[in-house]
Every structure is written in C-alpha cells, then in structure tokens.
C-alpha cells in the first residue's frame, strides 16, 4: 500500500499538529445538546453534554421532575462512565497525531485515522444507545401513558408539550474539523 509507506510534507505535518490541538481544545466545549421548549418554558430547558460532564444541572433537575410523568428514569451525570473515558481517549489521539507530526510517517497517520473512524462510530452508537435506553424503557405505571420512542440524535421531535431540538455542538465540530485536517493531510500533502 502506497499510503502506508509514504511520508508527509511539512504542511501535512503541521495539519496533524493542528488536528492534535483541536482534539484537546474540543474537550472544553460542548459536544452535544438538547433544547426543550414548551408554552410554560418559552426560555427553554437546556441539556448540554461536554466530553467530561453534563451541564445545566438545574435544568436537568427540572427535566427529571418532568420526566417522571412519562416514567423516564432519572438522567444523572454519574451514570455515564464515558465522561471519564472520553477525555483520556482524546488525549491519546492527540499524542498519536503529534507522533505523526514528529516522525512524518504516514503509517501512524493511517492508524490514527482508522482508530478515529472506529471511535467515531462507537461514539455515535453510544449516544444512540442512551437515547434509546431512556426513551424505550418507560415505567409502564407512569401517570401519563406514553409510547416508548427513540429521539433523533440530530433533529427535532415532539414529546408531550415539549418541542425538542437535538444536535451536535461546537466541540463535535472541532472534532470533525480535526478529522478532516488529517484526511486533507493524507490526501494532498504526502509524498
């Protein structure tokens, strides 16, 4: 394989270094979020997921209180082991990218890209898993009988009187950008 044996031009190395920086920066920004708007909540309830934590615990408390009406179990930051693993994984990826920068060897780059693809798929599956876990396992004895549902990862839906908008946030885009920079480096700036 040609790509496996090739090495990078200086620009390609720089792109990998920038990609590493973006990975680290993305730790400090939200990755995914959910905004719920209802007549009584014109200002919206906001649930924001960072790679390290859930934010807006006050809104989360309110959501949990409201969720018990349809029998959804309590959303609680402590249940998500991912929030401890993700930052470590990101740092590992950043180190690998820097390795590419310093050695200029594309074979490391291919490994990073491959692993990143796998991690991405796992990450998306993880979100899907939680959404379906919360949406599909509703307490059958809840006061309001609501059909189990899986909210979309990106997009909108209506749950009772709540109009919900979900989607990726800045951190996730930084991650995407980082990935793209690596792809560009591998595609255009290798000899």
């Amino acid at each position: 394989m040609r790509i496996w044996k090739s090495s990078l031009y200086p620009i390609g190395k720089i792109l990998f270094a920038v990609a590493a920086a973006l990975l680290i920066i993305s730790i400090f920004f939200p990755w995914w979020g959910m905004t719920l708007v209802a007549p009584q909540y014109p200002e919206g309830l906001h649930l924001v997921v960072y790679p390290t934590k859930l934010e807006n615990m006050n809104d989360l408390d309110i959501l949990n209180t409201l969720n018990h009406y349809i029998g959804m179990k309590e959303v609680n930051g402590k249940d998500f082991a991912e929030l401890k693993i993700i930052p470590i994984v990101l740092i590992a990826f950043a180190i690998l990218s820097l390795l590419v920068t310093f050695t200029g060897k594309m074979k490391y780059g291919v490994i990073v890209l491959g692993l990143l693809c796998i991690a991405g798929v796992l990450g998306l599956y993880d979100i899907y898993h939680w959404l379906s876990d919360f949406g599909m396992h509703l307490d059958p004895k809840a006061p309001i009988d609501y059909k189990p549902f899986i909210p979309p990862m990106v997009g909108e839906n209506q749950i009772a009187n709540f109009h919900t908008t979900m989607g990726f946030k800045l951190g996730a885009y930084l991650l995407g950008l980082s990935f793209m920079l690596m792809v560009i480096a591998a595609w255009r700036f290798r000899k």
Binding site: N58, D61, I62, C117, L170, M180
Partner: protein
C-alpha cells in the same frame, strides 16, 4: 467511511451559523430595541397609550403602597397600575400560609392585625437601593423588614418599648443607618397608669431609632429620644448637605388630652422638631442616656444642643426634605400655605442661638430667620413630593387637588384635581436625592362614584399623574383596598429578585431527595422531614404509604417540607383539613408548621398551590390514632 464525507458539509454550515449567532449575540443590543418606545412619555400619546403595557411586557416601576389596617403591603406596576402582589406583613394571610408557619407565627407574636402606615425602601447614598423595604405598624408599635429578593417579611421588631403609634415612620437615613419611628400618641412611658389629668407631667412623646442588620436580616432598637407630650407626625431625613439631621412635624402642642379635634387646633403655630441624629448617636455612645424599659433613652433637655423646634403653620401633617437636601417643606393642614425652610439658615440660627424662646425646655428657632418662602398652595396641604427639576407637588386634602410649585421661587405653576382627598403622593424615586420626574401617584382617601359600586364601603384610589411636562396630566385611576397610606415608587431594574431558593443541602431540616424523606419520633414528639415535588408528597420514603403520616392523639407534630422543584413558579402548599394548618413552600424553600394532634381520626392533606396537571392528586393523609 460515510461519516467522513458528511463531516465536510455539516461543520462548514454550522460554523457559519455559529458565526452569525455570535455576531448577533455580541453586536445586537436587544434591550435597546425593546426600550426605545418605552423610555420617554410621548407628549402626544393619549393617557391610554401612556399607561398601556401589552401582555408579556413589564412595567418600568414598582410601587410599594402601604396597606394600612390590612397590615399588608400592596405592590403595583407603574404605569399600568396593575396590582402584582400583596405582601403580608402584620396580618396573617392564608394564600401565603403567612401566620401558620413556625417562622411567621413567631414574627407575628400575639397580634393578628396591624396598621401598616409607612413604607421606606432602603437607601445607599440617598438613592433607593432596592434591597429591603421597611414598614411600621402604628397600632402595635412594631417595625418590619421585607427582603426585596423574595418579597417576604423577614423580621418584625416589637412591640418596641415606650412607643405609642409610630405613624410617620418609617423614614430611612441616606445610607440606611436608621429607621426612625416617632410616636403619634403621647402616653406615660411603658403604658404605666396615670390619669389624663396628669397629661402635661406624666405623658411623653418618644422617637425610636431602629437599625437593620442587612446580613443577619434583623432589626433592633438602637436608642430613643424623649420628647414633649405632643403628637409627632410625618418626618424625613436630611440629605446631602443636611445629612445627619432629621425633621418631623408635630401637632397638639396645646397638650390637649381629650376632644383633640378642637383641643389640638387652638394654637396658631405648631412645631417642626429638628434633630441631629449623628450627634445623638455620639452622645448615646458616650453614655448620655438612661435605660427605660430596656431602651436607651436620650433626653434632649438634659443634654442640649441636638434637638430644636421651628414654628410651623397650624396642625402640620408632614414635612419633606428636597432632593438636593437644601430645603424642607411643611404645611399646616388647617392653613392654606406651605412653608419652604432653608437648612443652611437653620444651621446658622442654631450656631448663633437665634432663638425666639423655649418650649418644654427645647429651644425654638426664630421662624423668620429660617424661612425661605411661603407658598399659597390651597386648602388642607399635607405631603410634598419632588420631580428632580426643582419643583414640588403638595397634596391638598380639602381641595382634593395637587399643587405644583417651584421650590426656589415659591411660584405656583399648576394645580390638578384628584378624586378625592389625597393624603400622600408618591413620585417616581420621589424620596431619593434624584427623583425621576415622570410619574406621581396620588393616594386618595375617598373614591365615591369613581368605580362600580360595591355598596356603602368604597375602595380607596391611586391616581397616576404624568408630571413630565409643565402641566400635570391625569393618566389612570386604580381602586385599592383600604388603605394605601403611603407609597414609594422605585425603578424596576433596581429590584433584583430570586426566582428559586438556592438548593442549600446544609439548610436545617431540609431534605433534597425523595428517598431521604423520613419521620422521627421521640416519645410524643413527631417530626416529619418531607418533600413536595410535582405532583406528590413524600413524608416517609421507606413506608409503603409514603404520603401518609401516622401519629397518636396528643402528639406534638412538626412538618418540615422542602419543595425540591427548583423550577420557576412551581410553588407547592400544604393544608390539613380540619386542623387549621396551612403553609406555602416556594421552589427550593423549606417551610414548617407545628401543632398538637388533639383531634383523632383521618384528616386528608393536600397541596394548596396549583402546581401541575396532577395537582389534584397531590394529596395524603394525617392519621391520628385515638387515645
């Protein structure tokens, strides 16, 4: 990999969107857009347009009106004149559970009503600072503090020793050092028995100086001043150049002790009492006082140089210091004139001992040497407010009108009729060093035929007047329960409320998780540590019936309930049928009531404050096992 190709497009577009969003957030000032048509009273707008505040829009001022013998404070929005809230202070109010909870019961003590006459917003550098509202109870000699973060009464002091009807209070000093409570009814100190025939010797007037600890939210009596047996009325604190001084009007210098209507209306002149509170404070600190019924009593006759009298027209009912602190204005209610007095001249007269005599051992300053102007305002002049442009507005009780005049020249500029018989008036920021000069509310004692009839007892009225122009303009008339005696109008943005009590897990008796709700029994004492949340109670999480409380007849029962809904406007309540127990628990708050379970049987309990679609289901039981 599919995600990779998609990965190009989404971040690019979202990046652009984020950019636009950031641009909007940082460069567009929404506040400015909103307030553009709200800032100035348009000259050509009709009265309806000037007072119309569309649904969802907010008023620009809070009006805090004392609720008289309702014992409450009424809160209005200006200019819409919508009544927003009633704050219970000296009277139980079941809608808020005020008077049933442990705290409020303790504050109210043995009294079930009060006559809340004057309100005063705390001040910093002579400006309303929006932190606390003070109020006094003329009936039972008490003072109260209302926290303006929560609009709740946080402390009541009293009955305060030696006072009898602190009518004119409360007025605060420019940095809220003191709230003064001058007494209206002279009586023997400490209610001691002495026949009215001994009025001149045994009866006394007293002024109390109360302090407020803003951190501990506690009122306490600092000291008192012994005064002649006259009736003390409205008062005001000096400002700016006259800071450190206070002034109050007094009538019945005749010392009549019966049929005051005639007896107290004989003297052609009564007095203003001028006092140097900073000086008295120092004297008290040095020990110039005697302790009477636990109060440090300062006697201005024994320690002269701090209290003086100034002659004023017959039977005055008010004195007000101008915003610049240079003048004080008072009128005799049985004389058609208002007198503008000069503080500088007053200080000079005191220094030069320019006295025309003495009354009850207190020096009387020569009237001519302190008078600035006399203004023919009309019949029955009472109280004066200011617009910050050098004009004063005096209410005319008998004329049923308000007169506007210039303070410097004493020239009358305008007069507007009101319906009817105004007592006080409240201008926007009117008692501060910088009144806003756009609105004035006349607090009228009579309203006959102004509103749909409700039978022989009529509402009182609050009339909103536009004072932004040369001529006053009537804008709106709002009915009120008796009696909005005094009011203060403060800029809405100075009031910084909280919407939810902070989740303080260390708060005594609070429980924050449903599973932690529990009941503690010690002999015949039962303490319930429960939670309220949409839409159920949990008193005992381990029980199969978590919303049922079992006690034995005769047990002493306390319910401590925390509202764990930390969500704006989600208030719960708890009422127990036939037990006369009731409380409100605001979001994030812990509240309690205690009672003896003397009746046996089954007593349903329920949430009283409509909280959710399942509010009706938010119930439980108190089961009292018979002896």
């Amino acid at each position: 990999m599919n995600g990779v190709k998609k990965g190009w497009f989404t971040p690019l577009i979202s990046g652009l969107l984020v950019g636009v969003l950031i641009a909007v957030v940082f460069f567009v000032n929404f506040k400015q857009l909103n307030s553009a048509n709200n800032s100035k009273l348009g000259a050509n707008e009709s009265a309806a347009e000037k007072t119309y505040v569309p649904p969802g829009k907010l008023d620009t001022y809070y009006l805090f009106a004392s609720g008289g013998h309702s014992g409450n404070v009424f809160v209005y929005g200006v200019p819409s004149m919508r009544r927003i809230r009633t704050i219970p202070v000296f009277t139980p109010e079941s809608a808020a559970g005020y008077g049933w909870t442990t705290e409020s019961k303790k504050m109210l003590g043995k009294f079930t009503w009060g006559d809340l006459h004057h309100v005063a917003i705390s001040e910093t550098k002579g400006e309303y600072d929006g932190r606390t509202l003070f109020a006094t109870d003329i009936q039972n000699n008490r003072a109260a503090a209302i926290d303006l973060k929560t609009f709740k009464t946080v402390d009541i002091l009293g009955p305060i020793a030696n006072l009898n009807g602190p009518h004119c209070a409360a007025f605060v000093t420019p940095n809220s050092e003191y709230i003064f409570l001058p007494t209206r009814f002279s009586a023997p100190i400490g209610h001691e028995y002495a026949d009215v025939s001994q009025f001149k010797e045994k009866y006394k007037g007293v002024m109390g100086a109360v302090q407020y600890d803003f951190n501990k939210k506690k009122l306490h009596l600092a000291w008192e001043v012994m005064l002649p047996p006259w009736s003390y009325d409205l008062s005001d604190a000096g400002k700016k150049s006259s800071d450190g001084w206070g002034v109050m009007s007094t009538y019945n210098t005749e010392e009549a002790n019966t049929t005051l209507e005639v007896g107290a209306s004989q003297n052609d002149r009564d007095y203003l009492v001028i006092f140097n509170w900073k000086g008295i404070e120092k004297e008290v600190a040095k020990g110039s006082y005697s302790v009477i019924n636990g109060a440090k009593m300062f006697d201005p006759v024994k320690t002269p140089g701090y209290v003086f009298l100034v002659p004023v027209a017959k039977s005055p009912h008010g004195v007000d210091v101008t915003p610049d602190g240079k003048y004080y204005i008072s009128s005799g209610k049985l004389s058609p004139t208002a007198t503008i007095y000069d503080w500088e001249k007053t200080f000079k007269a005191i220094k030069n001992k320019d006295f025309q005599g003495e009354a009850k051992g207190l020096p009387v300053i020569k009237y001519e040497s302190v008078r600035h102007k006399e203004v023919e305002v009309g019949l029955g002049p009472l109280h004066t407010q200011f617009d910050g442009r050098g004009n004063a507005y005096t209410t005319l009780f008998i004329d049923s009108a308000i007169t506007k005049f210039n303070i410097k020249t004493g020239k009358v500029i305008d007069k507007i009729p009101v319906q009817y018989s105004p007592g006080h008036a409240a201008a926007a920021e009117g008692d501060s060093v910088s009144p806003d000069g756009n609105y004035l509310v006349a607090l009228n004692k009579l309203s006959k035929d102004s509103y749909l009839s409700v039978g022989p007892s009529h509402p009182e009225s609050l009339q909103l007047i536009d004072i932004s122009g040369e001529k006053m303009k009537m804008l709106y008339s709002a009915p009120a329960d008796p009696e909005p005696h005094y009011a203060q109008m403060v800029k809405a943005d100075k009031i910084k409320t909280i919407e939810v009590y902070p989740k303080d897990t260390k708060r005594p008796n609070s429980v924050w998780k449903e599973k932690d709700a529990h009941i503690v029994r010690h002999g015949n004492k039962v303490d319930v540590y429960g939670i309220a949340v949409r839409s159920h109670f949990v008193f005992d999480a381990k029980s199969k019936t978590p919303d049922v409380v079992h006690v034995n007849q005769g047990d002493k029962v306390t319910f401590y309930i925390t509202n764990i809904d930390l969500d704006e406007d989600i208030t719960h309540g708890l009422g127990i049928t036939s037990y006369n127990e009731n409380m409100e628990i605001q979001p994030g708050e812990t509240n309690s009531f205690e009672f003896t379970a003397d009746q046996s049987g089954v007593f349903p309990l329920a949430c009283t404050n409509f909280c959710s679609a399942l509010h009706q289901e938010m119930t439980g039981y108190l089961l009292v096992k018979p002896k």
